[in-house]
Subunit: 155 residues, 2 copies
Amino acid sequence: MDPQEEIPLALRAAYLMLHRQSDAAFAPYGVTADQFVLMARLSEGGAMTQKELANRMPSDPSTVRAMLVLLEGRGLVRRERHPTDGRARMAALTKVGRRKFGQLWKAGDSIRGRAVAEMSSDDACKLVQLLKQFTESLDPNSVVPETVTEGWRQK
Amino acid sequence: MDPQEEIPLALRAAYLMLHRQSDAAFAPYGVTADQFVLMARLSEGGAMTQKELANRMPSDPSTVRAMLVLLEGRGLVRRERHPTDGRARMAALTKVGRRKFGQLWKAGDSIRGRAVAEMSSDDACKLVQLLKQFTESLDPNSVVPETVTEGWRQK
DNA sequence: TCAAAGTAATGCGTACACGCACTAAGATAA
DNA sequence: TTATCTTAGTGCGTGTACGCATTACTTTGA
């Protein structure tokens, strides 16, 4: 079959499978797969603006806000005004949030393990590289160097 | 970086990028990326039960139902009772649906083209193979032949 | 034959993923 | 300084992805 037509389907199937299994793995902790991703970003980056968090997820700012409001209500996340920029809000994990994330990370181990158990290390790297290339080639904000004939750049 | 931790993130980023770009490409036709997937399955498989359609998407039966109800209201899809099984319903594209799908397929060409433009044919195949392997290894319903020591099988 | 087990669809509730319009605040330029 | 532009966040509406409980029908087995 033509791989060009099959990539989107295989990608969709893989992502949804991962999402379902992750949701199931985190459900005992009362957390969803996407909430885990958000907490992972906050955990590795410390306090950051909602905009920055949305860029790193990656997700839509309005989606991120809804998730933060929800997690704030559960005491896992803290939102404070930015010290100098009156528009922005800084989001960060609370102490409880950090502890919860530690548990989640361990709970997620089995999934990450299963996913690459039958895959060579080389193949795993190759998969990451191809996925990044795929994402990049679809990103309208990515600049293809060779085609830049004038002096403009995405900021 | 450890590819084991990076695969889920790269997969998520790639899928969401594909989904956003597809939604944008199909929006002028009043159809979403997921509705396109559903229509593609009906287009290639003809009439089938909702259960069968859900398996092929792959998606949850209740999600598929909601989408079918919506598309039926727009005249793109038809739902009739199964001739012999009183529980089941057969879903199929209407004539209008088939025509719409033809337009969508062409509209999606640019995305499929962009996605593999900078990717060798070998890499595209490799990507599909790795994604399928990933999906399979996470699927609790998949049976790993070597580990089957007793006579049982998933039906 | 008739009760028990299994299956397809439905309805409901929650969470995500967006786009869009809007507000408020910072940045820039005349 | 003031008018303009840009940017961060918010609120709202629609569609998708589930899980779970329920209903209606089919299949199986005693």
